[in-house]
Symmetry: C2
Subunit: 190 residues, 2 copies
Amino acid sequence: MEAKEILKSSISKIATLSDTQFDYFFSHFKKHTLQKKEIIVRRGDMVEAEYFVVAGCLKSYFITPENKMCILQFAMPTWWASDYDALYHQTKATTILDCVTDAEVLSLSNDDREKLCKELHQIEYFFRWRTNKGFVASQRRLLSLMSNDVKYRYEELVRQYPQLYNMIPKNLLAAYLGVSRETLSRLYKD
Amino acid sequence: MEAKEILKSSISKIATLSDTQFDYFFSHFKKHTLQKKEIIVRRGDMVEAEYFVVAGCLKSYFITPENKMCILQFAMPTWWASDYDALYHQTKATTILDCVTDAEVLSLSNDDREKLCKELHQIEYFFRWRTNKGFVASQRRLLSLMSNDVKYRYEELVRQYPQLYNMIPKNLLAAYLGVSRETLSRLYKD
DNA sequence: AAATGAAAGTGATGTAGATCACGAACTTCA
DNA sequence: TGAAGTTCGTGATCTACATCACTTTCATTT
C-alpha cells in the first residue's frame, strides 16, 4: 500500500473527509525515505513539523547529562512523532527523533496543521482525537512507571506490543522501560 | 469572581467566542460545591463528565494492590480533571478523583463536550489545545521521572508550583513524586 | 575474510530509596 | 476539653536496581 493510502485509511477511521478534501489535506505532506539511525530532529533544532510513520520504526528520546538514554516513545506505522513540546511551544528541541530501522515518513508542518485545522473542522476533530489518545497513553505509562516494578512493566510491554519484542534491540527496550540493559537482561531468563 | 467569569476568562485566552456563544457553552455546565475529601469519581464508576476547577484543589490517583497511592495529577483553579482514560473509552474508572481541599467545580458531560465540539469549531479548537497542553505536560513528567532523582524532582516541583508547597500535605507530594513520605521528609532538611 | 562495532550475558559490588517501627505535634470534632 | 485521626520526623534494616568490568556473539563494512 502506498503512503497516501496508509494515511487515508488511518484518518478515515476517525474523521469523515471527501476524496477532494483528503487530497487537499495530503498535498501538505512531504514524503521522506530514511535510513536506520538517521536523525530527524536534533537536540537544539527548531522543530517545525511532525511526522506520520508509513513504514519502519522511529524513537524519540532524551539524553541526560550523565549520558543515559530515556526513550519517550517508539513510533510504529500509522503513529505520529515529533518533539511536541518544542513544536507546540516553538522552542528548541530537547529530545531527539531518529530511526530505529529504515523508515518512510510523511511530514506535516506546524503551520500547515494549524491552517488545515482552521479550514476543515473534521481535520481539527482528527487532531483533537489523536492527541486525546496520546494523552491517555502517556498517563497510563506514567501510572505504570509509578506503580509497577520493572518485571511487570516488561511483561506488559511485550504483551501489548509483541512486534516490538522482535523488532527492537533489548537495550532500547530497557531505555524505554527506564531500567538498565543489564537488569533487563537478567529479568527475561524466565 | 464568579465561576462563569473564571471559565470565560480561561477559555477566551485560547478561543474566540461571542458572548452568546459562550452563554450557550456555559449552559451545559453544572456547578458543584464540594468538601475536602469528597470523592468525585470513584474506582469502578462509569465516568460521564469532566471537571473544571473554579476554586480549591483536586487530585486524581491510583491505588495499587499493595495499597500505595500514586497521584497522577493535582488540579488547581482553571485546570481540568477526570479519569480521561475511562471517560474517552467509556469504561469504568480505574483512578479516583477527589478533593484535597474544599472546592468548587463545573462539570461538563462527555456527550455535551462532543456535541459542543461539533457545533462550534472554536470549542473544538479549545479542547484540542487543552489536550495538547496536557499531553506535553505528561510527557515532560514522564521524562522527569525517568531521568531525574527524587531530590531534583522535588525541587523542580516546588520551583514550578510554589502554591503546592504550602497548600498540600507532604505525604501527597510524595505520592505525586513517586517516593515514600519518609524519603521525602529526609530530603527537605536542606 | 578480516576488522570494527553493536548487542547481549553475567559476576561482583555499590546505593538510592523502601519498609518497618516508634513517637511527637498538630487538627478535627463530639 | 479530651480523644481520635492526620501529618510529620527519624532511626534501623532491607532490597531492587545501578554501575563497573569483562566476555561472547552477531552484524556491518571494506
